[in-house]
């Protein structure tokens, strides 16, 4: 019986190089929901939305210092909000959470806003996960589809905090 020749050994894939390890680190962080720094979260948000990170960070720092803007954090999600009037806020989200953790973060945020005495919050978003998470947590008072400055559709949501 002829012995079938063994297949040649697999070529070295190059896996394990430093750049791969960096990617693996990121994957690991996401899987284990490791706590990212505020800068890292904003960096991700800047990449996602196509904004300049420096401008975003500078704007937030100045807004926070001026007292116009507050940032609340739940897991790896930052809720940036502006107090329109006592008990009413307009907010936006910068998140590095996976979808299921994101909905928990939204829940925590809503609870925190309730404790802080807010009655109504609103947001404009093109993130369906946020819309979904908000509707799961609390009754949405109104939803309106509008077009953003680029013509892309986005939702304006007004939510009662309860």
């Amino acid at each position: 019986m002829d012995k079938k020749p063994l297949s040649p050994p697999q070529e070295k894939s190059g896996f394990g190089q430093p750049q791969d390890m960096a990617v693996l680190d990121q994957v690991k962080k996401q899987r284990t929901n490791e706590r990212l720094s505020t800068e890292e979260i904003l960096q991700k948000e800047a990449e996602r939305s196509g904004q300049d990170f420096d401008s975003m960070y500078q704007a937030l720092a100045m807004g926070v210092e001026a007292g116009n803007v507050r940032i609340m954090r739940a897991n790896n999600t930052l809720f940036i909000y502006d107090i329109v009037q006592p008990g009413v806020a307009d907010f936006d989200v910068a998140s590095a959470d996976s979808d299921n953790i994101f909905s928990k973060s939204v829940q925590e945020f809503m609870q925190a806003m309730k404790v802080a005495g807010f009655k109504r919050i609103s947001t404009s978003t093109n993130n369906p996960a946020l819309s979904k998470a908000l509707q799961a947590v609390t009754p949405v008072k109104s939803v309106r589809q509008v077009a953003d400055e680029t013509g892309q559709p986005e939702y304006e949501l007004i939510v009662e905090v309860m």
Partner: protein, 344 residues
């Protein structure tokens, strides 16, 4: 448009050096856990609520301190503060609750400061010292060249380090207005155009007190200390004066006072159309005996007409009725109403 985009759009892009300085400092973030978790020490929860509602640094620290000092939670807060000294997670929550730097809170706790003080000092170092001082440092670094478009050209030196944490107190005056801060002093010289600056007057160092007396504007000791050689510039201290009926008007001689009274009397006499050669005596309203003697003068034509219309040009003439009405009681009654009906 989302809020984040609006905020970014609203801010003018600063030079790269300033941005780098800002980015180096952590953004103050409020942890939701500080608001939602059970068993969060009261000062922390209070600070978190204050921070979430947009309170200023001082108010956040005050919120923490107020609850901390409160009798109801005194014991609990004491325990939590003691525990906080060794608990990194509590320090983290405390810091994030107030939007301060965790490292700064931990450091303050490690130096033996109570929790409220730690939050307060961390806020000063974190919020103001972090972003503002970072920006200021960036501005300082950038002042070796012009800062285009921002209108900022800080001069390097202490005057630019307004909010550095090690320089607390800059920009806050120790000059407290006397008597509870009534009255705000504006320097009238700011209204003068530059071409008229030579006519500027030194701002007054005195003010009217609650009882009408003259008091120093500020209670600061600096006001009482005049550098040697500058005494010539001291403003004369004004003495309190009261002006009332029958009182000598300060600053007028006897002759001047008499002339002033005559003038006032002339004015009143003209107004009420006194007849020629008649001496008018007028008692000041509520004056309690102040008497002004008028100068005899002929009435003006307008005054005479007014006097006739009001029947006061003829002293003693009744306003209603005449000789035929003598014996009738004055006042509004059934009789007078009948009388008025007959007249018409």
């Amino acid at each position: 448009m989302g809020l984040l985009k609006k905020i970014v759009k609203a801010v003018v892009q600063a030079p790269a050096k300033i941005v780098q300085a800002i980015v180096k400092n952590p953004l103050p973030v409020i942890e939701t856990i500080a608001l939602t978790a059970i068993g969060v020490p009261a000062p922390i929860a209070s600070a978190a609520v204050a921070a979430a509602n947009g309170a200023k640094v001082g108010d956040i620290a005050l919120a923490a301190a107020t609850v901390y000092a409160g009798g109801q939670v005194g014991a609990a807060a004491g325990e939590s503060a003691a525990a906080a000294g060794s608990s990194a997670s509590t320090a983290q929550i405390a810091a994030s609750a107030a939007g301060a730097s965790t490292a700064a809170v931990t450091k303050a706790l490690a130096t033996g400061q109570p929790l409220d003080k730690a939050i307060s000092s961390a806020l000063t170092a974190g919020v103001i010292g972090g972003t503002a001082a970072g920006a200021v440092e960036g501005i300082k670094a950038a002042t070796t060249e012009n800062v285009p478009g921002l209108g900022l050209k800080a001069i390097p030196g202490q005057g630019t380090q307004l909010f550095a944490p090690d320089q607390q107190g800059y920009g806050i005056t120790s000059r407290v207005p006397t008597e509870g801060g009534q009255g705000i002093f504006a320097d009238p010289n700011v209204l003068l155009p530059a071409s008229l600056s030579a006519y500027a007057t030194p701002p007054s160092q005195v003010r009217a007190g609650a009882a009408g007396q003259v008091v120093p504007r500020y209670t600061a000791a600096g006001d009482y200390l005049t550098p040697t050689g500058m005494e010539a510039y001291n403003l004369p201290q004004e003495t309190p004066q009261k002006v009332g009926p029958g009182m000598n008007v300060g600053g007028l001689s006897k002759e001047g006072e008499s002339a002033a009274r005559s003038l006032i009397g002339y004015g009143l006499g003209s107004a009420f159309g006194s007849t020629a050669g008649q001496t008018q005596q007028t008692s000041a309203k509520g004056g309690g005996g102040a008497t002004l003697t008028g100068i005899s003068s002929a009435p003006a034509a307008g005054s005479e007409a007014l006097g006739q219309a009001l029947r006061i040009g003829d002293p003693g003439a009744p306003i209603f009725g005449g000789e035929k009405d003598k014996g009738k009681k004055s006042g509004w009654n059934v009789e007078s109403l009948r009388y008025m009906g007959q007249e018409s």
